[in-house]
């Protein structure tokens, strides 16, 4: 079949099962756009800013597990994608990005809207391509999808010069990829699995550290089986939230900088850490030399370079979690750890991190808790970055995998609007709540127009504290309340803004209005926004200051804490 390059791209995307693309046109990618009418099966969502396209593709990838697709033109179009690509790379999100490039003859001449897109994205993609011949397009796209979605997933970018889109060549879609340098290890090494079984049998105070890898590998049942069979408490990382139900008896919650104190303390007291699909991020470990020094460590991870990177591991197992855990579950003997589980209950009682201060004031923790009740823990929660993100992670009850969608490794403010858009497009059957910061929301709120235009019914809970709250908290704790450049004195009227965009807008200033506002927003047929005007100087507790240890934990002053 003879096709031009643009048709080849579309044919290839269809063969990869792509249904939706987020993008914005420009000169270099125009030939591709002008071909779209020939492919009505490909739904294109026109964004307002390419960062929105990248984050939306990322959100789509996180909720579906399939690569999200974003595309943009050369130069500024491509550079606007960069934050979104880096975010996907940090959090191992499958994504395929296509960018237009200036024509081949102009490459290297600083032509209009030329940037070295493959150069710029080299360190923030899993792999990238500059396709210099039309005939190579199918193979590049086939490989891009394969690399993006297998092993440890990540973003793959395909840069295509304008004249490569327009030239014709013979189209043949390869059945298989030929990548001699890429072959992720899936089965765990049997000898290592045996060593892990031995450590588990010997352990008296084991904990599972459940990471994003479980969700990626869809190993929920296997983790649950391991936890239940051997009675091991489960701690979930920020991105691992949802890999194990929050309301399960063995769930201990999130550890680390803003994790539950008892989860961090349980790690400290454990004699065995079973780390599953996680990477010992500094937000979890704090000072690595003093992290979990009392325990042996089993680390099961598909990316060998994560093993031994931050902490010493006694039993490394490289492989796909689902397969490795199946093998492990076959070999471990049922066991109980009554004393240890009692000890964790004691820790929970002594450090009630999940309690919400009893107050008439409108505080964010209460809003998140009400959201959890109103949605029965069945919504997909998308967040920005900052205090509201941590409260959303702490106080919502996540009962399903892929139900907390948040920028972890990158910590990209602004994720909350387009990320939620992508999540809702990927899961139209679900209620999607974006728990947003007033700061981050304003970084990408142009995408509200995209939501309205395409009737994507995301519900926003803006936790409006008129501050870049998390930074303000650091200033309060570590810089004697010197609030430099963190206060917003003239935020827009978010309700009017919602109305201007054509959405429902509701303002809540009183605790008593919270639940009805949530319900109204959910009952509304279309995107809606609730502007929760909250206590401005509320802090996220507990906190382990950066680079410190569990012994430096700061907890909410106790007298204020009363059971809810």
């Amino acid at each position: 079949m003879r096709l031009n390059g643009s048709q080849m791209v579309c044919e290839s995307l269809l063969r990869e099962g792509v249904e939706v693309i987020f993008g914005l046109p420009g000169g270099a990618i125009l030939p591709l756009y002008q071909t779209l009418p020939e492919y009505p099966q490909l739904r294109h969502i026109l964004v307002r800013h390419e960062q929105g396209a990248a984050h939306a593709a990322d959100g789509y990838g996180r909720v579906t597990g399939k690569p999200g697709v974003a595309w943009a033109t050369s130069g500024p179009g491509a550079t606007n994608l960069v934050t979104g690509i880096a975010t996907a790379q940090m959090d191992s999100v499958p994504m395929v990005i296509i960018t237009g490039q200036v024509s081949r003859a102009s490459i290297g001449s600083d032509a209009f809207q030329e940037t070295d897109t493959t150069g710029i994205t080299l360190p923030i993609t899993k792999h990238n391509y500059l396709v210099m011949n039309t005939v190579d397009i199918p193979r590049a796209i086939k490989e891009a999808f394969h690399i993006a979605s297998t092993g440890r997933p990540g973003p793959v970018l395909v840069d295509i010069p304008k004249d490569v889109f327009t030239e014709e060549a013979e189209f043949e879609y390869p059945d298989e990829v030929d990548l001699p340098g890429y072959n992720p290890t899936l089965e765990g090494h049997p000898a290592q699995v045996k060593r892990a079984v031995r450590l588990i049998a010997q352990a008296r105070r084991p904990v599972i550290l459940a990471g994003h890898g479980i969700i990626i590998s869809q190993a929920y049942d296997e983790v649950r089986e391991l936890a239940e069979k051997v009675q091991i408490p489960v701690i979930t990382t920020l991105l691992g939230i949802g890999s194990f139900p929050d309301d399960h008896l063995l769930c201990v919650g999130m550890p680390g900088m803003h994790g539950m104190a008892y989860a961090s303390l349980a790690i400290e007291e454990a004699d065995l850490l079973i780390a599953l699909g996680m990477r010992f991020d500094d937000r979890i470990t704090g000072k690595t030399s003093e992290f979990a020094v009392n325990s042996k460590k089993i680390h099961i991870e598909i990316d060998p370079s994560e093993i031994g990177k931050n902490v010493h591991v006694d039993v490394p197992i490289v492989g796909d979690l689902k397969l490795v855990l199946r093998e492990l579950n076959r070999r471990v003997k049922p066991k109980t750890h009554v004393e240890w589980i009692q000890r964790i209950d004691e820790l929970k009682q002594g450090h009630p991190s999940m309690l919400i201060r009893d107050t008439d004031k409108l505080i964010p923790q209460y809003i998140v808790q009400q959201l959890a009740e109103a949605t029965n823990g069945d919504a997909i929660v998308v967040t920005g970055v900052g205090q509201h993100q941590m409260w959303a992670a702490q106080h919502y009850t996540y009962r399903h995998p892929r139900s907390l969608i948040t920028s972890g490794g990158s910590g990209a403010m602004g994720y909350e609007v387009p990320g939620a858009m992508g999540a809702q497009v990927g899961r139209p059957d679900k209620v999607v709540w974006s728990v947003a910061g007033d700061g981050g929301f304003q970084m990408t709120m142009a995408e509200l127009a995209t939501l309205v235009e395409n009737n994507i019914p995301v519900k926003f809970a803006i936790i409006n504290n008129s501050f870049l709250g998390m930074v303000r908290q650091w200033q309060e704790f570590f810089y004697q309340k010197s609030y430099v450049a963190t206060g917003y004195t003239h935020n827009p009227d978010f309700v009017k803004l919602a109305e201007a965009f054509g959405m429902l807008g509701i303002r809540v200033t009183d605790k008593a209005q919270v639940r009805s506002a949530i319900t109204r927003a959910m009952d509304y047929d279309g995107p809606a926004l609730v502007d929760f005007v909250v206590e401005e100087e509320e802090n996220v507790y507990p906190m382990i200051p950066a680079g410190q240890t569990v012994h430096d934990l700061i907890e909410e002053p106790l007298p204020e804490r009363v059971r809810r």
Binding site: T118, G119, L122, P123, K126, H127, L130, I147, L179, P180, G181, Y182, N183, T185, G188, H189, P190, A191, Q192, H299, D303, P304, S305, I307, G308, K309, H312, V313, D314, P316, I317, V318
Partner: protein, 184 residues
Amino acid sequence: MTTNGGVPKHTITALVQDKPGVLNRISSMFRRRGFNISSLAVGHSEEPDLSRMTFVVEGDDKVVEQMTKHLHKLIDVIRVSDISNQNIVSRELALIKVRSNVQTRSEIMQIVHIFRANIVDVAVDSLIVEVSGDEDKIDSLHNLLKSFGVLEVMRTGTIAMNRGADSRVRRTAARVDWGEASSV
């Protein structure tokens, strides 16, 4: 494994796809992760579309393990081996331009002879010496010639190869036995 003022040196070889940008991918990864390369040599391998690289890198075992893992993680890199502790031949080629005159020429030639090096260019006031060998040998010759005045030095960086027969290209994707990978 040799050491350089306390920092151990490792020799790592990699088999990589001969594609545009592959060197950039590798050097960008080394820079980004703060790994130190003391030399890097690239050239064709026995297969038409594959290149072999030799890196001499500095770092303790933990750092070098991370380096090899990150190298291996690059899609265009097919195989990586840390051959520091193996039975290898390692060689470097250097050109050294040294000041010379009628009085010093024969003395230089004697030294060059002892090192089994060659003089590949003779000018009125300088000579170019070509020497190959391991890094230490080249360092020693360079040091000896310094007293005559070294005008220019060009070194290729070390290339290395296992002795014996088992280093042929395997075209299948390298399945690394990560299970036994240490985790320092």
